[in-house]
Symmetry: C2
Subunit: 261 residues, 2 copies
Amino acid sequence: MRKTTSEELGMQPKQFRELVRRAEWTDYTMNVCRNYAQFNLAIVPKDYAFDFFHFCQRNPRPCPIVDVTEPGSPHPKLVAPNADLRTDLPRYRVFIDGELIDEPTDVTRYWSDDLVGFLIGCGITVGWALKAANVDYRSLGAYVSSIPCAVAGPFGGPMVVSGRAFKGSRDAVRATQVASRYLASHGPPIHIGDPAAIGVDITKPSVSYDQLPRPEDVLLWWGCGITPQYTAVAAKMPILITHKGGYMLVSDVLAEELANL
Amino acid sequence: MRKTTSEELGMQPKQFRELVRRAEWTDYTMNVCRNYAQFNLAIVPKDYAFDFFHFCQRNPRPCPIVDVTEPGSPHPKLVAPNADLRTDLPRYRVFIDGELIDEPTDVTRYWSDDLVGFLIGCGITVGWALKAANVDYRSLGAYVSSIPCAVAGPFGGPMVVSGRAFKGSRDAVRATQVASRYLASHGPPIHIGDPAAIGVDITKPSVSYDQLPRPEDVLLWWGCGITPQYTAVAAKMPILITHKGGYMLVSDVLAEELANL
């Protein structure tokens, strides 16, 4: 793995995706092309595309859809028309009948004209916006909650949530305001306070684990972009291709361009 | 046609829809159940449902999707689970291969398990919000503009827009702020000022016609919910069922519940 350099932080998304395409970048995307929106990816067979679309529409907090490809096309027209979803993410996960079979850096060999790509908003944008507003927080990681998603066709199951801990009400209120500007990045929190109320035990990581809150912290919980991947795996489709967590698509669109206010 | 009474204005949406279902209300819905969100309707065959969904996702200003039914179900789960889309709108339009064949008050005989209903936001909400904010305006009606919609499958064509004239910049700015709270009701304007710049001649009505602006007015133009019907007719599907303009679905959801802020 290469270390992020300041040049890479400042490069344009197109240049960065070319690095990825040539397999010269295989690391996380967290710190690259700051301020350009990054997205979660789910590629599903055309036969499932309407139901998956429907699932995301019914669950807009965890699954804000930002772009959907033409069936068979790997190019996300709205957010990165020159990108290729088969090669331009640093790491993928491939599932057959719900079983993980591969974690490649290129999914060209799994591609077919029958596939539809969905790009779904990602919370990194809100993290940047909070920092820009000088609102400090501790990341609590992601957990499978007890909140049921609205069902559509074979897609359903629990909402995955991610938490942030703020040092007081003032910061938590400001964070709610800031996040509300970014509906494409999960928007406002879906829960304030006690994690047990939404079935989360912060001492037992279920998806990913980060810091623990301090007793005086105010906790906010957001719908998490792992949710669509979680439900899509459970649907045991003949094929499902996703990004691997943290290895996102870096788009051509500034996060601010997607802000609803 | 019956005159709206104050009782009817104040009745609950469920009671109002029962009146409609019994064909005891066949008038416009403009003034009924004030503050409850009303929606545009497009019912399309399942084979076209993904592409139509995709079209709306790509054109969120004219086509904000609020609810999509399960294929074959006439019940809009999110906004009015007890409503029946076959009977609960006062007037429909039925198109076969793009030709208008009927304008009934009930479409039960055209229904099949192959159909999917899309409910799309409606500008009435913003009209109410402007009045609540004491922002006066003149309605300019709806026009087919020269702005091309983003294409998805067989769906494309021009955006239909609707205009409002404000008596000065202060009101126009306030109106932009107010409308931005309601993404499900077309959100902020898509054009400010000269109608000719978007191919609109306000002296020549193309869809509907209302008042003319005064020379000192500031004009704002919004994506209009007639757009999805316009594109759906042009796609010449084997069957398409829509509401007739002005005869909307009255939902159980307050417009304020859908506000994004």
